[in-house]
Amino acid sequence: MTRYNRRSFLKISGIGLAGTYLAACSVGGGDETAAQTALRAAFSQPINDLDPHGPSSVDEASLLAGRLIYDTLIRRNGEELEPAVAQSWEQPDDNTWVFTLRGDVKFHDGTPLTAADVKASLERVKAANTAQSALWATVSSVEASDDTTLTITTERPLGTMLVNLSLMFILPAATMNTEGFFAKPVGSGPFKVESFTPADELALTSVEHWSGKPKLKEVSLPYLPETSSQITALRTGDLDILWPVPPDQLRELEGVEGITLETVPSYVYYFNWFNCGKAPFDDPRVRRAMWQAVDVAGIVKNLFGDGAEVMTSPIPSTAFGHAEQQPYAHDPEAAKRALTEAGLGDGFRTSLMWFSDTGPLADGLAQAMISDWAKIGVTVEAQNVEKAEWLRRLNEKEFDMDLQTNTVTTGDADFTLGRLYDSAADRMGYRNPALDDILRQAHEDSDQARRGDLYAQACKIIWEDAVGIFPAALISTYGLRSTVRNFQPAPSNQPDLRGVTVG
C-alpha cells in the first residue's frame, strides 16, 4: 500500500494545478516494467563534458561516464589490470609495446573498432594539452600495422603504460572530430548515450558488448547539486544509488529501512603541504614539529567518523606503491622542544590556504589543525580562498601551507608521487635529488615488483622529511536502495555497472 504524507499530497495536487504548462519541465518516472531494469544513480559531482580527452579528462565524473560509454585497451579490476579491447601484449624492447586487439569490438553505430581508432584516440589525447596529456608525453609514435595490431613507441621507457591505458578511452576515428559529436557521442562500451544535458543528466541504454550485455536496460545519471536533495531522493526511492555520501550525512542514512551502505577506501586523500622552499618550513625539524602538534588521529575520528581513515603513507592504502610508515605521535611538548632547537622557541606566524570545496569537511579540518598549532605557539592565519585563486597561488607557490585533497586517478603512485614530488615539477619547493632518481626509475621500469620497492623508498623519504602532513584518506560510502544487487563499490568512484540488477 502506498502512503501519502502531506508533502506528497501537495506535490500531486500542485502538479495537477500547474497543469500542462509544467508538464514539460517535470521529471518523468518511466513506466513500471522499465523501472525493473532501469537504474538511477547519482554521483556527487556533475558530468560536464563527455569528451574523454578534453578538459574534463581526469574529472572523476567524466571518467565515470567514460567507463560506461567507451572501451579502453586495459581495464582495472580491483588491484589487477586485465585485458579489455587489448587481448594480449608484449614488449620487444623497453621502448616498444605491441598490442593485439580483439577483432569483435563494434562501436554503437555498428562500425568495427580497429587499431586505427586506438591510434587516432591516443594521438588525440596526447595533443589535447589537458591533464591527461601529461601521461603520454614520452610517447613518440603509435602505429596500426593492421586492424588488430597496435605498436606504441616511447622515447624513454614508460613503466605506467598499462595503467595509463586504463584511462585512455577509444573513440571512432572517422567521426570523433565532427562538430557536435560529444553532444551524443558514439563509443563501444556496454552503454550507449540516449541523451546528455551537461551538468544535469546523462541517460544511457545498454547494448550488446563483447563482455556480454549488461542486465540493466537503462541507466540514468542525474546531477543533484544539493546534498540534502541527494539524501532525500535516495530515501524516497527516486534514486537507486548515491555516492560518495559525505561523512557528516552518514547518520541521515544509517539504519534507514530499504537503504544499505557499502564502503570502500577511495583514491582520494588530504594532504597539508609545507612550502619547503621558504622559511621557516625549509627546516625539516619545523615541519615535523608542526605534524607532531596536530592530533591527527583524534581529528580524523571526531570529524570524519567512518568517512575517512588515518593515513599511514603519503598515498592512500588503495593505491599501488603504498608502503606503511611509522605514524607521528601527537606530542605538543616534543613539538615545542623541536621548535626551540630550530630557534623558534617563541613560536611564529604563518598561514594556511585552502578552498572549501576541495573535499568534505575541509573547513573543519583546517580549523582543527589551526587550533592545534595555536597550542604550540604557532599562529596560523586561515586563508579560505576561491578555487581559481587557490590554483593560481598554488601554481605560483604563493603559500606557506596548502591544504587540499588529491586523487590517485590511475590508482598508481606514479600519478601522484611521480608528478608532484619531482624537483623539476617544483610544486612546493622541496628538492631532493635522491628522491628524483627513485621516482624516475619507478616511472620507467615496467617490472611491478621493482616499482613497488622504489615507491616504498619514496614514501619513506616524503613521510620522514614531512614534505606535508598526510592526515586522512577518504572512505567512499555508497548509499544503495536494497533492491540494487551485485553492486561492487569502487575506490575510484567509478563503479562498473555491467553486472548490476534492480528489483
Partner: protein
C-alpha cells in the same frame, strides 16, 4: 516619433557596448585563469604556458578585447571549456528555467500586490493600510538571500511541506518564486495604493459620484482602470529585475537557470559562458526598459514626445 525611436535604440546599443566592455575587463581582472582550472593542480609551468597560448590568454589584453568584440558582433561567444559546446547554446538551455521562475514570481507579485494595494487604499489610515505598508517596507528591506534561507528553514526543514531545491516538481517553484517576488510585491502594493488614492481625489470621481453611481461602480469601473496604466508599465521593469535578481535566488535554491550557470562559470573562469549569460541578462534589461518607455505612448494618449 521615428527620431525618438532611433535615439533610444542608439542609446541601447551604446549601453550594451559598455556592458560588454565592463564584463570583459572584470572577468580578466579577477585572479586565476581557465588554463589552470583545465589542467588541475598537478600541471607544470610549461603545460600551463602552452595551454594559455592555445587559448589566446597570453595575447595582450587589447588584442583579446578586439577579438572578443568581433565575435560578439557575430553573436558568437565561443565554446565553453567546461561544458564542451557552444557557450550561447549552454545559456539558452538554461533560459527556460529562469523564465519559468521569473514568470511565476510575476504572477505572485500581481496576484498579491495588486489586491493588497487596492485594499489598503480603500481602508486608508486604518489598521489594514498600516499593516500593508509595514509589510511592503519589510519585504523591500530584507535581503533576498536571507529570506530564501529562512523560508527553506521553515517550510522545508521544519514543516517539510515544500521542497528546498529544484526537484522537478511544480511545488519546487513556490519558495524561489515567492522570495524573488517579495520586494516587488510590496513595491507594487504601495504603488497601487498611492495611485488609487490619487485617482480618488480627481474631478472625474467627483462627477461620477455626483451623478449617483454607487461607490463600488465608481471604484471598480473608473478608478481601477486608471491605476492600471502605471502598473502595466512597471511590470516590464519588474520582469527585468527578476531576471537579474535570479542570480542570487537561483544560487540559494539550486535552481538550474542562467543565474546559477553564470556563477558556476565565473567560479570556473569559463569566460565564454559567463559573458554570454551576463550579456543576455543585460539585453533583457535594456530591452524591457525600451519596451516600457514605448508602452507609455501606447497606453496613455496624453503622453507626447514633449512631455518625455
Amino acid at each position: 516619433m521615428i527620431g525618438y525611436l532611433v535615439r533610444r535604440l542608439a542609446q541601447a546599443v551604446l549601453l550594451l557596448f559598455g556592458a560588454v566592455t565592463i564584463v570583459f575587463l572584470v572577468l580578466r581582472v579577477i585572479p586565476g585563469d581557465p588554463a589552470a582550472l583545465i589542467l588541475g593542480s598537478q600541471a607544470t609551468a610549461q603545460e600551463l604556458a602552452a595551454k594559455r597560448d592555445e587559448m589566446g590568454l597570453s595575447d595582450p589584453l587589447l588584442a583579446q578585447y578586439a577579438r572578443h568584440l568581433g565575435e560578439i558582433v557575430r553573436l558568437d561567444f565561443g565554446d565553453s571549456w567546461r561544458l564542451g559546446g557552444d557557450a550561447f547554446a549552454a545559456v539558452l538551455d538554461r533560459l527556460p528555467a529562469t523564465i519559468t521562475l521569473a514568470g511565476f514570481a510575476l504572477l505572485f507579485t500581481l496576484a498579491l500586490g495588486f489586491p493588497l494595494g487596492v485594499y489598503a487604499a480603500r481602508h486608508k489610515g486604518k489598521l489594514a493600510d498600516r499593516a500593508v505598508s509595514y509589510f511592503s517596507l519589510t519585504g523591500q528591506a530584507l535581503p533576498a538571500f536571507w529570506v530564501g534561507i529562512m523560508l527553506v528553514l521553515i517550510f522545508s526543514r521544519t514543516l517539510n511541506i515544500l521542497p528546498a531545491t529544484a526537484d522537478g516538481s511544480a511545488l519546487a517553484l513556490v519558495l524561489p518564486a515567492f522570495t524573488l517576488a517579495l520586494p516587488f510585491l510590496g513595491w507594487l502594493a504601495r504603488l497601487v495604493r498611492n495611485g488609487t488614492l490619487e485617482e480618488l481625489g480627481r474631478d472625474y470621481v467627483r462627477t461620477a459620484r455626483s451623478k449617483g453611481l454607487s461607490e463600488r461602480v465608481v471604484f471598480n469601473i473608473h478608478v481601477l482602470r486608471n491605476t492600471l496604466t502605471p502598473v502595466i508599465t512597471v511590470l516590464g521593469l519588474i520582469l527585468g529585475n527578476f531576471i537579474a535578481d535570479a542570480v542570487i535566488i537561483e544560487q540559494v535554491f539550486a535552481w538550474p537557470g542562467i543565474g546559477s550557470l553564470m556563477i558556476e562559470s565565473i567560479q570556473n573562469r569559463d569566460y565564454a559562458v559567463a559573458e554570454a549569460a551576463i550579456i543576455l541578462i543585460a539585453v533583457f534589461y535594456i530591452g524591457l526598459n525600451l519596451v516600457v518607455d514605448l508602452l507609455y505612448f501606447a497606453l496613455d494618449p496624453r503622453v507626447t514626445l514633449e512631455t518625455v
